[in-house]
Symmetry: C2
């Protein structure tokens, strides 16, 4: 059977290895596996959320309120925007997909950083859209602008990952606003804030305020997620915030019931426990220091991180080998070979997990 051309060169996203796989392949007990590969919250989810969801597991047969009334009201209140400025996605990934399908096509491509979240490119290719990338790995807005100006007619969407996954760096809000001033009103700029909670906690200059952003730049949208700081990676809830007329168009692409009944409850309850998020952020950066110190001690190149992960770039050792050796011991890290880097990305885990991981990496440096 012949399929649409776009599928020919489409390669799926390589997800972090699941605990179940390590159990199956290496016979390690699930409780002994340390998974620091997918930037999940090592503290789990707020106990209040766990309780609230536990109380409605007998409602799994019921579709969610597809208007997402309560969740949108809570987000609208949190960010000081209208409910109509918000679209809920199955993870913020899905809002990326909506943005691509709304603005990109065979004639209008996307522009991204050299190394950034892989789904921008995957969704673009699935839509038959061309992908422009900067030579620079991290976001170099000067280079973005250069490419944009030279190819304006062919670029429909610009993606800025702030902070940038899988590298960890983060643009200042001011830089982004200056950049936006030079972008045409008809080009959609997606500010992916999946890790914004971490970045703004570490450095206030990194904070993107959706309300101000969309008021000044109606061609920009902000993406947020419950997967990281809010500890709900497995529940797939994200959101996009943008000017109402823009979100109305993106919202047309949302299929009904795109999040589950339990996910909706979880997200609503998660917004009520900001203390849990604060604890997450505080411990994250405290523990990250262990990794920084370790890297400096062992002369490993580390990239500055405004997220809940850190990247170790190796010169003498082979990163894939290290990741593979640790995997056999039940430690799952993310090998960044697929991004063309001799590096591993490590989610900052629990203190006890971080100690084990660093000890095991040290073994591999000998």
């Amino acid at each position: 059977m012949k399929f649409n051309e776009n599928l020919a060169n489409l390669v799926s996203y390589e997800a972090g290895k699941p605990i179940e796989l390590v159990v199956r392949e290496y016979g390690i007990d699930a409780k002994d596996v340390i998974k620091l590969a997918s930037n999940e919250n090592p503290y789990g989810t707020s106990p209040a959320v766990v309780k609230a969801v536990g109380e409605i597991v007998n409602k799994m047969h019921l579709y969610p309120d597809d208007s997402y009334f309560e969740l949108k009201a809570a987000l609208a209140s949190k960010f000081g925007v209208s409910e109509k400025s918000i679209v809920i996605g199955s993870g913020s990934d899905q809002i990326i997909e909506f943005a691509v399908h709304a603005k990109a096509n065979a004639n209008k491509g996307i522009l991204t950083a050299g190394i950034t979240f892989a789904m921008y490119e995957i969704y673009a290719k699935a839509a038959g859209a061309k992908v422009f990338k900067t030579e620079s790995k991290e976001h170099d807005l000067g280079e973005f602008l250069q490419i944009y100006k030279a190819n304006k007619d062919e670029i429909g969407v610009i993606f800025l990952c702030v902070p940038n996954n899988p590298l960890g760096g983060c643009l200042d809000a001011e830089e982004i606003y200056k950049f936006l001033e030079q972008i045409d009103a008809d080009t959609l700029v997606v500010i992916d804030g999946a890790y914004q909670e971490f970045a703004k906690f570490k450095d206030a200059k990194k904070e993107i305020k959706p309300k101000g952003l969309i008021a000044k730049f109606p061609n920009a949208i902000y993406l947020g997620t419950f997967s990281k700081a809010y500890g709900l990676g497995g529940m797939r809830v994200g959101y996009g915030i943008g000017e109402e007329s823009v979100m109305n168009e993106l919202g047309k692409l949302r299929a009904p019931f795109n999040i589950t009944t339990l996910s909706l409850k979880a997200a609503i309850e998660a917004l009520k426990d900001e203390e849990f998020v604060k604890m997450t952020l505080e411990t994250n950066f405290k523990e990250m220091k262990k990794y920084e110190k370790f890297a400096d001690l062992h002369d490993i190149k580390r990239l500055p991180s405004f997220t809940n992960f850190i990247v170790f770039e190796f010169e003498r050792q082979n990163a894939s080998e290290i990741a593979q050796n640790l995997l056999k011991k039940g430690i799952i890290l993310r090998d960044l070979k697929g991004y063309g880097l001799n590096a591993i990305r490590i989610t900052i885990g629990l203190p006890s997990q971080n100690d084990v991981v660093l000890k095991q990496i040290e073994e591999n440096l000998k």
Copy 2:
């Protein structure tokens, strides 16, 4: 901002009204609302599933095993097909979307029944594909063939909804096989079996066996869901079964983690409790008799149903008015006005719910 043309005339799916809305708008207590509008399982979910999911609510921070290893193994075993023949979707809706994006485009449209599941058309329009429909409301395969032969070059996907939502009728398996023999190997035929459990329970002639189907017709795929008979509407899990090379292409369009960690567990456990499904099916058709008897008594046109819902078509009364009157009393039914029918679709509920609904409809006939 200018958006892709396909969005201009795109209208979202009108989901059944949620309980929360009736609570908000009419001040009725949630526990007093009878929702028979979305074909959810009135018996809820298997208690074993509720228990199993309840036990992992503390795992919401973890992404699911994106290979869906265990679920695919269980489905493969149930249907006697290979794991590679299966793609998991966020509801079978998402497999519809994959089928459209894989085969339809500006030059290749889709062909559906006159009145059928609305998402076929919505996904097609979002992809800029033309929609061919039969004049007949229910599936008339003669008319399908006529339209297909006259427009072969412009039709990439044929959707057969077996049984057909929102009407309830169901083609025989043999009719479908004969139809498939006349369809080109390059045209994808999607057999949407969301309500197959109900149909084959009522009449063995309706049963589509995915294994035999795809062995004989590699251009056909079968869709199933956990939303109806398995009582997991709110958890969004469906699947597509097809020839391996076809599913490999459709699978490329699946974003990672397209179902939640709790949904994955729920689906795996649901497959272990076929007794719950059997009870659902038995009580469904027993209760449906009440509706049939009522319709015959009051001279209401009823369509034969092989599903968990029944359609009442009115001649003298206004169906929308009846639906609206019942809504005010906390009874949510589906007005089919949007499909051009003076009819309401009623999910077969619990015995006590059905009695109340019929009594209220009777009030409106006076």
